[in-house]
Symmetry: C2
DNA sequence: TATTGTGAAGCCTTTCACAGCA
DNA sequence: TGCTGTGAAAGGCTTCACAATA
């Protein structure tokens, strides 16, 4: 099928969720998954699952389903996560330092190769006690230099909300390609830099709406 | 307008993001916001913004825009966050303990009133050093008892992926109403319990897709 | 037989364009 | 005048239903 058609945003979101489901099934030693199994786990329609894959090719076997290992590779390739992505975390507070040792990032080829804070000295004591200092904490004024030297393409923002936009600007200045902002203040960037604002409270707000209504 | 119509899921998601934008504007001493300002910040069409609000009432003033303070209250009421929600966090590792002291939860009326771990003794040392033990860490075998005694309605899962579904089951058993799963393995629950799986890597996957394609 | 891949239908959401109003 | 509120049009996504096929 048309490999170059315009892909619905919702499809891209679901691919990521199919991938997690496939990993879950694989961990239970399953080798093959049907669209209806995936649909059940991901809470979508089976035809939706098939159509989502069909945007990119024919990955299944009629009468059988999808080979889990192969399908995972296809999805990773489609998403662009069939290679390592090098990441900087800015703001090594409680959340930031949790990310530095977050195992699922490693498993998924996301490598945190730099960590920045406005007060590295204060932070280092905390961190090394807890997690054995997995990556050196640098002063944020070295952001541009280090992002360029280490070929970092993505920045994760975990500073307080008042500082978030400032840090976003510095990341843009450092020629970062994408920003994941986990602080509770929305940030923006020029069009050539992709930004995702991910607010924890939004997930709760959404949950609460459906609990209330 | 029809206060009881079926609301698009996307609208519910956007309400949460409008709220964050309004808080941002308020912090800059703005009193009034137009649909086009909100649209620009949230990356949507101005008509979309107006239509989203119109599902629930007429909140604006023609020729002027929306009163920020009032609109915030309307949105909070719509989402159901115009009251306190009591939360339990299960799994006090790096991520879990970051959430225990996450300031935006408090600001938004989300109260973490219980924290559970499978090894509270080990955890307590770590935590109290760092954050002054904001809430007592209890053994997870007291989950049901404490959730009921403290009127907890929402559970946040931050245990390792292998334990996530087990904890979800325990939360269901404890008559929780909603679950936010932050572990990288999807969990499910009976229909009467609302579940949101929020994977950090999905936000990165999505970013990477648009960086690649 | 079981399940994929897919055209077409149906449905839902977004956007347009303008009437209504402060 | 300027911006909201909204009916109608356009567009896009999801689901159906079935042909294709391992």
């Amino acid at each position: 099928m048309a490999k170059y058609a315009k892909i619905p945003e919702a499809t891209v979101r679901r691919l990521s969720s199919y991938l997690k489901c496939l990993e879950e099934l694989e961990s239970k030693d399953e080798k093959v998954a049907s669209s209806s199994i995936l649909a059940t786990i991901c809470n979508v329609n089976p035809a939706q699952v098939r159509k989502d894959f069909a945007y990119f090719g024919e990955f299944g076997i009629r009468g059988m389903g999808y080979n889990i290992k192969e399908l995972k590779e296809h999805i990773k390739k489609i998403l662009g996560i069939d290679r390592e992505w090098r990441i900087a975390v800015v703001g090594i507070g409680n959340l930031g330092s949790a990310l530095l040792v977050y195992k699922d990032f490693l498993k998924q080829n996301y490598r945190i190769v730099a960590a920045f804070d406005i007060d590295p000295v204060k932070v280092i004591g905390n961190i090394s006690e807890r997690v054995g200092r997995p990556v050196e904490i640098l002063h944020v004024n070295r952001l541009k230099e280090v992002v360029e030297a280490r070929n970092i393409e993505i920045g994760i923002i975990t500073v307080p909300p008042t500082e978030a936009q400032k840090v976003a600007n510095q990341l843009v200045e450092a020629n970062i390609k994408g920003i994941l902002n986990l602080s509770p203040a929305p940030v923006s960037a020029p069009e050539h830099v992709k930004v995702r604002n991910l607010f924890f409270t939004s997930a709760l707000d959404n949950l609460v709406y459906y609990l209330t209504n």
